[in-house]
C-alpha cells in the first residue's frame, strides 16, 4: 500500500559502530531509543547486532535480519549492503540475525518479515549501512597512506590508491572502527550499481538447499533434545480437562507426557514414538465457546453485517446521491476461509534451563517470539534468545506465535530441550485462517458507459483486531483496506466501507492479506460493469486509469504479451496496485477442456527498481500459482467448531501437471522498490472468473471455483 498505516516516520535512524577486542569491525544502525543494553552489545562482535562484520583475515559477513522463507531475502538484503561496499556477492558470507531492536522493520514497528516490506524498508537503510562502512574503510586507508580519501577507491574487498598502495578491508577494519561514521554517506548512483538489478545475480542459499544442508526448523537439533507431539483440542481454543497418559507411557521411545495450557505433549526420542504415544492419550477437553461454530452460521453472520454502516475508509465526491443515477448494477461476492498450508508444518525448538530460554525455529516475528517465550518460561525477554532457521514456507503462518509459546511451555514443563513438531493435520486444523469475507458492490454508469459512482462494502473478521488490537481504530482495521482504499480507478464518486464481524474462528494474515479479498470483488465487479456498459474489459479499465500511468503501462504490456484481442473469448483480465507494485494479469483458458483449464497466465509488474530480477519473477510466479490453487480448489469449512479439512487430499495444492504456463514480465522502472512476495497472489482469482465469464457467460461470484 502507498501509505502504510503502521509506518512511523518520526523514527530517524542513525549510525553507530565500535571496535572489538579482536579488531573486528561492526556497524549497525540504531533507532534513537535503542536501549543501553543493546548499544553496549554492539561492542561485542560475538553478538549479531550489526549489518556488517569484517575480520582481519578479510572475512566479510553481512547480516540478514529478515526471515528467509523463499522470497530471497537471504540474497537481496545482503546485496543492498554489498552494493555500497563494492563487493561481489561471491565474497560475502551471510548470517541470519538474532533478535534486537536494531533489526526492527520500520514499516511494521517490529522485527517482522511480512507485508512485502523487506526490500521496501531495507533499500535505503541497508545501502546507507554499506556506504557508511565503505566511507570509513576508505578514510582509514587514506589516513594510513597520508593521502586524501578522494584519491582512494574501495572495490572487491580492497582499498587502493593510484600510486599502487592497497589494503584489504580486513586489514583496515580495526582502524576504520575507530573513525566516526558519516551521518549521511553518499550513496552510489543506480548507473554504477554492480550488484543490484543484475540478471546474473544468483541466490546465495541455493547450494545449501540443493545439497539438503539448509537447516529448517524441523532439522534443528539440540543436545539431549526430546521430540514432542502435541495433542490439541479438535476445537481451536479448547483446553485439556483430564489426561490419562498410562498407555502413552507404554509406547517404546516415549520419555514423558506433560500438560501445557492448550494441549498435552508427548516427548519421545523420535517423532513416530511421540505421535504414537499421543494417539494413545485419553484426554477430555473443555471445548469452549468455539464448539458451536458452523460454517453456515459464520457466513450468515457476515451477510447480516452488510446491513451495518461500518467504517468509511474512502470517499470521493458523493457516491450516496449518484449511485442510483443512470444504469445501475449490483453484485455480491464471497470468499472462504483459507489455510496457509506451508510445506514445512509448524514446529519450534526450545530449551528452558538455568534461567535462560533458547528458541530456535521457523519464525517470521522475532520480537513477538521473544516476548511470548519470556512469558511462557517465566523469564525476562532479555533472557530469551531467538535463532531463526530457514522457513519451509511462511505465507504469514509463521508470523503467529502459538507454536513458539507451546515449545517454551513444553520445555519448561518437562525440564528438557524439545523440538515440537505438528503433523500436517495439526497444521491445517489449527491454523490462523485467511478470513471469510462478503462484499457488496454497487455501481452506476453514465450514458457513455463510464463508471460514475462506485460503492463497496466488505464484511469480514479482522486479523488485526486479534493480533495488534491497538491498530484498529473506530472499526477500521488498516490491513482490511488493502486492495480497496488504494483503488487505482479514477471514478468521480466513490464510497468504500468495511464492517468488522467477529465470527469466532481465529484468523491470520495470509499471503497478500486483504488484497486477495478486495481484488476479487473489485476486479470481478469491474468486468461486470464493463459488460453492462457494453465495453471491452481492458478498454473499460483504461478509461478510468488515465491518472495512473504505471497501471496503464502494465496493462498494455500484458495485453501485448498475452495476445489478448478486444472482447476476445476465453481471456480474463485484472489489474491493481499492491505494496507499491503495479500489476496486470491476463488469463487465457483452454477452450478444448471440458472443465476450467487455464492455458496461460500472463503477468506484468512494475515493481520499481528491482534488486534481483530473476527472483522477482520467481516470486511473482510462485504467488500466481499459490493464488491459482486457492481459487480453484481450496476452502476451510468448520462444523461443530472442527475444521473439516486436514491434508493435501482435501486441501489441495497445484501440482506440476496442473500448473499452466506462467509468463511474467517486469516493466523497467526507476521508481522506488515495491513489494513482490505477495503481489502475484490476488489478481489470479478475478482474472480467472473473468475469463470463465467471457468463455461461458457464467459469472462466478464465490470461491473456490471447484470445477
Amino acid at each position: 500500500m502507498k501509505n502504510h498505516p503502521l509506518k512511523n516516520t518520526s523514527r530517524r535512524q542513525f549510525l553507530q559502530h565500535g571496535a572489538a577486542v579482536t579488531g573486528a569491525f561492526v556497524v549497525g544502525m540504531y533507532l534513537p531509543f535503542t536501549s543501553d543494553a543493546a548499544t553496549s552489545a554492539i561492542n561485542d562482535p560475538a553478538l549479531a547486532n550489526a549489518w556488517v562484520r569484517i575480520t582481519p583475515d578479510n572475512q566479510i559477513t553481512l547480516i540478514c535480519a529478515r526471515s528467509e522463507m523463499g522470497q530471497d531475502v537471504y540474497t537481496s538484503m545482503p546485496a543492498l549492503i554489498a552494493e555500497e561496499l563494492n563487493l561481489p556477492l561471491s565474497m560475502i558470507r551471510v548470517e541470519i540475525a538474532g533478535v534486537a531492536p536494531v533489526y526492527i522493520n520500520a514499516l511494521l514497528g517490529g522485527q517482522i518479515t511480512g507485508g512485502s516490506t523487506s526490500v521496501r524498508e531495507g533499500f535505503d537503510k541497508l545501502r546507507i549501512a554499506g556506504a557508511a562502512t565503505r566511507s570509513v574503510l576508505v578514510q582509514a586507508a587514506a589516513n594510513r597512506w597520508n593521502v586524501p580519501a578522494t584519491q582512494c577507491k574501495a572495490l572487491n574487498g580492497k582499498v587502493s590508491h593510484a600510486n599502487g598502495m592497497t589494503a584489504t578491508y580486513g586489514e583496515l577494519a580495526a582502524e576504520a572502527a575507530k573513525l566516526p561514521l558519516p551521518e549521511k554517506p553518499e550513496l552510489k548512483s543506480p548507473a554504477n550499481f554492480m550488484v543490484i538489478g543484475k540478471q546474473s545475480m544468483r541466490r546465495l542459499d541455493t547450494p545449501a538447499k540443493v545439497a539438503g544442508k539448509a537447516v529448517f526448523g524441523i532439522d534443528v537439533k539440540i543436545p539431549g533434545m526430546a521430540i514432542a507431539s502435541l495433542a490439541q483440542c479438535p476445537v481451536i481454543g479448547g483446553t485439556p480437562m483430564t489426561v490419562d497418559s498410562v498407555n502413552a507411557m507404554k509406547v517404546s521411545g516415549v520419555i514423558k507426557v506433560v500438560q501445557i495450557s492448550d494441549g498435552v505433549a508427548v516427548l519421545a526420542n523420535n517423532f513416530y514414538a511421540a505421535r504414537k504415544g499421543r494417539d494413545a492419550l485419553k484426554i477430555t477437553w473443555n471445548e469452549g465457546a468455539g464448539a458451536t461454530i458452523t460454517n453456515a452460521g459464520m457466513r450468515k453472520q457476515l451477510e447480516s453485517g452488510l446491513s451495518k454502516p461500518g467504517a468509511i475508509i474512502k470517499t470521493v465526491g458523493d457516491a450516496g446521491s449518484n449511485i442510483t443515477n443512470g444504469k445501475t448494477l449490483s453484485a455480491q461476492y464471497f470468499m472462504p476461509y483459507l489455510a496457509h498450508s506451508t510445506m514445512e508444518p509448524v514446529n519450534c525448538s526450545a530449551e528452558v534451563a538455568n534461567g535462560k530460554c533458547r528458541i530456535i525455529g521457523p519464525i517470521q516475528f522475532q520480537q513477538g517470539a521473544q516476548a511470548v517465550a519470556a512469558v511462557a518460561s517465566g523469564l525476562k525477554p532479555e533472557d530469551v534468545t531467538v535463532e531463526t532457521t530457514f522457513l519451509g514456507g511462511g505465507f504469514g503462518r509463521k508470523l503467529e506465535l502459538d507454536f513458539v509459546r507451546q515449545a517454551a511451555e513444553i520445555s519448561k514443563a518437562s525440564g528438557m530441550p524439545v523440538k515440537m513438531l505438528w503433523t500436517k493435520e495439526d497444521d491445517i486444523t489449527h491454523d490462523f485462517y485467511r478470513p471469510m469475507s462478503v462484499h457488496q458492490m454497487d455501481g452506476a454508469l453514465t450514458a457513455s458507459g463510464k463508471l460514475s459512482a462506485l460503492t463497496a462494502k466488505m464484511v469480514s473478521q479482522s486479523v488485526t483486531a486479534r493480533a495488534f488490537p491497538s491498530f484498529v481504530k473506530d472499526g477500521n482495521d488498516p490491513f482490511m483496506v488493502e486492495g480497496s482504499a488504494n483503488l487505482t480507478y479514477d471514478i468521480p464518486n466513490i464510497e468504500i466501507r468495511n464492517v468488522i464481524e467477529d465470527a469466532g474462528i481465529r484468523v491470520g494474515y495470509w499471503r497478500s492479506v486483504s488484497n486477495t479479498l478486495n481484488a476479487f470483488a473489485v476486479e470481478s465487479f469491474m468486468d461486470e460493469a464493463a459488460k453492462a456498459a457494453g465495453k471491452d474489459p481492458v478498454e473499460f479499465r483504461l478509461a478510468s486509469l488515465q491518472k495512473e500511468p504505471r497501471a496503464v503501462a502494465v496493462l498494455k504490456l500484458a495485453v501485448q504479451k498475452s495476445g489478448y484481442q478486444a472482447k476476445s473469448k476465453n481471456f480474463g483480465v485484472a489489474q491493481m496496485e499492491a505494496y507499491g507494485t503495479y500489476s496486470a494479469c491476463i488469463i487465457e483458458l483452454d477452450p478444448s477442456a471440458s472443465s476450467t483449464k487455464v492455458k496461460k497466465i500472463t503477468f506484468v509488474s512494475d515493481c520499481g527498481i528491482t534488486i534481483h530480477p530473476d527472483q522477482a519473477k520467481a516470486q511473482l510466479t510462485g504467488g500466481i500459482l499459490y493464488g491459482l490453487g486457492a481459487a480453484l480448489y481450496d476452502e476451510i469449512t468448520i462444523e461443530a467448531g472442527r475444521v473439516q479439512q486436514s491434508n493435501f487430499n482435501n486441501y489441495p495444492s497445484i501440482r506440476m501437471n496442473q500448473a499452466p504456463i506462467v509468463d511474467v514480465h517486469l516493466v523497467p522502472s526507476q521508481e522506488k522498490p515495491g513489494g513482490l512476495g505477495e503481489v502475484g497472489v490476488p489478481l489470479v482469482a478475478p482474472a480467472l472468473v473473468n475469463a470463465i465469464a467471457t468463455a461461458t457467460g457464467h459469472r462466478i461470484r464465490e470461491l473456490p471455483i471447484k470445477t
Binding site: E68, M69, G70, Q71, D72, R202, R203, D205, T206, P207, K209, V210, A211, G212, K213, A214, F216, I218, D219, K221, S252, G253, N269, N270, F271, Y272, A273, K276, S341, T342, M343, E344, P345, F390, L391, G392, G393, G394, F395, L421, T423, K424, Q615, A618, Q619, T621, G622, G623, L625, N647, F648, N649, S653, I654, R655, M656, N657, A659, I661, V662
Partner: protein
C-alpha cells in the same frame, strides 16, 4: 527388534519399533535430514527416498519393509547423478523456500534412471507426486531436462 538395511552404501542395524516409518528412522535415529516431513500420508513427496531404486514416500513405509534392501537418500545418489541434478538445480536457481526440493530431486533421479531423455509430459507425470507450495515447477522442469543432458 533389529532391522538390517543398507543406507547409502553403509549397513545399518536399526533397533526399535519396526513399524517406524523409514523417514523417522532416517531423521531421528540416523540424523539424515535431507528427506523432509510434509504430510505424513504420501501426498506431497517431500520425504521421497529410493528403496531398491524405486522412489518411495518414506513417511508412509515402515522400516521393516526396508529389511535387507537398499535405502538411498540425496547424499547417496551415484556421484554423477547427484552432481548433474544439483548443478542443474543451481543453474536455474530452482528453490525458493527449498523445503520440497530434496524430494523433488529424488523423484527426478528415479525418472532419469528409467528414462534417459524424458519429454515434458513424462517429466510432469513423474514429478506430479511432489508438491511445491512456492510454485517452482517450471524451473524444476528445466532443471530435469538439463540434468538429463548432462547424463547422456
Amino acid at each position: 527388534m533389529t532391522v538390517s538395511f543398507n543406507l547409502n552404501g553403509n549397513t545399518i542395524q536399526f533397533e526399535g519399533d519396526p513399524e517406524t516409518p523409514i523417514l523417522w528412522v532416517l531423521r531421528d535415529h540416523l540424523d539424515v535430514t535431507s528427506p523432509k516431513y510434509g504430510c505424513g500420508a504420501g501426498l506431497c513427496g517431500a520425504c521421497t527416498v529410493h528403496l531398491d531404486g524405486a522412489a518411495i514416500r518414506s513417511c508412509s513405509i515402515p522400516i521393516s519393509e526396508a529389511a535387507g534392501k537398499k535405502v538411498v537418500t540425496l547424499e547417496g545418489l551415484p556421484e554423477k547423478v547427484g552432481q548433474a541434478l544439483q548443478s542443474s538445480w543451481v543453474e536455474f536457481d530452482v528453490p525458493q523456500c527449498g523445503y520440497c526440493q530434496t524430494g523433488q530431486m529424488m523423484s527426478a533421479a528415479e525418472l532419469l534412471a528409467k528414462k534417459r531423455q524424458p519429454n515434458t509430459e513424462e517429466i510432469k507425470n513423474a514429478m506430479s507426486g511432489n508438491i511445491c507450495r512456492c510454485g517452482t515447477y517450471a524451473r524444476i522442469e528445466k532443471a530435469v531436462k538439463r540434468a538429463a543432458d548432462k547424463l547422456v
